[in-house]
Symmetry: C2
Subunit: 190 residues, 2 copies
């Protein structure tokens, strides 16, 4: 999505450790009309898939998920992050290895909101190592629902998470794919 690449070039900031900060429009502050445009792009890519529900994770995934859910006309379910494994019959819970914090945490969702009849699209703001995505897909499997595919605003392709999932046959869409981030050379897209 060219408009997103331009926005990242214009507003994205490269922080120490080659971290890309896009909190002026994607998380923390949300450029709502632009977010809705991204949502329409995601909805268009999955229009033929019979999606019944979008699954995301708090907090920064919620706005992108909402934006995609409006044109698809489906509910959003957001998983909550927690330090403890709360898995019971009524709560689905999956472990997420944390790249940035070194440790691990869990994502959980009320079992009532994902059913075997659901065709679930996973939506998030970022895809890097893919640990959060793997956790969300695990929740879908636990529910016996069908994982249709995933869509993220920005994939840091150089961190490999998306390609690992694609190699397993999963459909992973990214509106912008970043090949490299460097304070001097800037941002290169795939």
């Amino acid at each position: 999505m060219k408009a997103l690449e331009e926005k990242i070039r214009k507003e994205g900031k490269i922080l120490p450790g080659n971290v890309l900060k896009v909190s002026s429009f994607l998380n923390q502050q949300i450029d709502v009309p632009f977010m809705m445009e991204m949502g329409r792009e995601i909805a268009g890519r999955y229009a033929e898939e019979g999606v019944t529900k979008i699954l995301t994770v708090e907090s920064s995934g919620i706005a992108v998920a909402m934006a995609a859910a409006v044109p698809l006309g489906v509910p959003v379910v957001f998983a909550k992050k927690t330090d403890k494994n709360h898995r019971t019959g009524r709560v689905l819970c999956a472990e997420v290895a944390s790249y940035t914090h070194g440790g691990k945490h869990f994502v959980e969702v009320d079992a009532a909101y994902l059913s075997p009849a659901d065709r679930v699209l996973v939506v998030d703001d970022f895809l890097a190592c893919g640990n959060a995505m793997v956790g969300l897909i695990d929740l879908i499997k636990q529910a016996g629902a069908h994982f249709v595919g995933a869509a993220v605003a920005i994939e840091k392709r150089y961190q490999g998470g998306g390609d690992k999932l694609r190699a397993e046959g999963m459909r992973i869409e990214a509106l912008a794919s970043i090949a490299s981030v460097d304070p001097e050379a800037g941002i290169a897209f795939c």
Copy 2:
């Protein structure tokens, strides 16, 4: 908003401690078309106020804020919850006394996203004691921005937070106002 009252009656669950659970459509799972309807209602109530930005707090405020921001055509900024006071020149931070957890926490936002030129509408899913709302209004004051008013999906009027703010001259709108919650008598609206 009659449709919201009906939805609460139909889908809301009263948990021990007279806690009202509406996670089937408002938080955790989001009924997106209905959420957009609530957003239009909020936008209509503040249509003449020249709102330039919506401020909310993660996580469950984000979806309502997005829904109101679409018709108003303004950005959403969401404050983050944290255990520490990170206030610096670049981060605005306000204390929030916690009713449910007994302790306190902080809400913070990058100072770049609220400016003296902003006319800010605060949007959240719930208003009870008003502690979170007071913290968000504090952030707006710290930024030197203008607090236009607030809109919440559900006000638990019996907890008094909204009326305390109204008594100070603030405009606080609720799409549904609950007078009492009781496992036997059910939910009574104001």
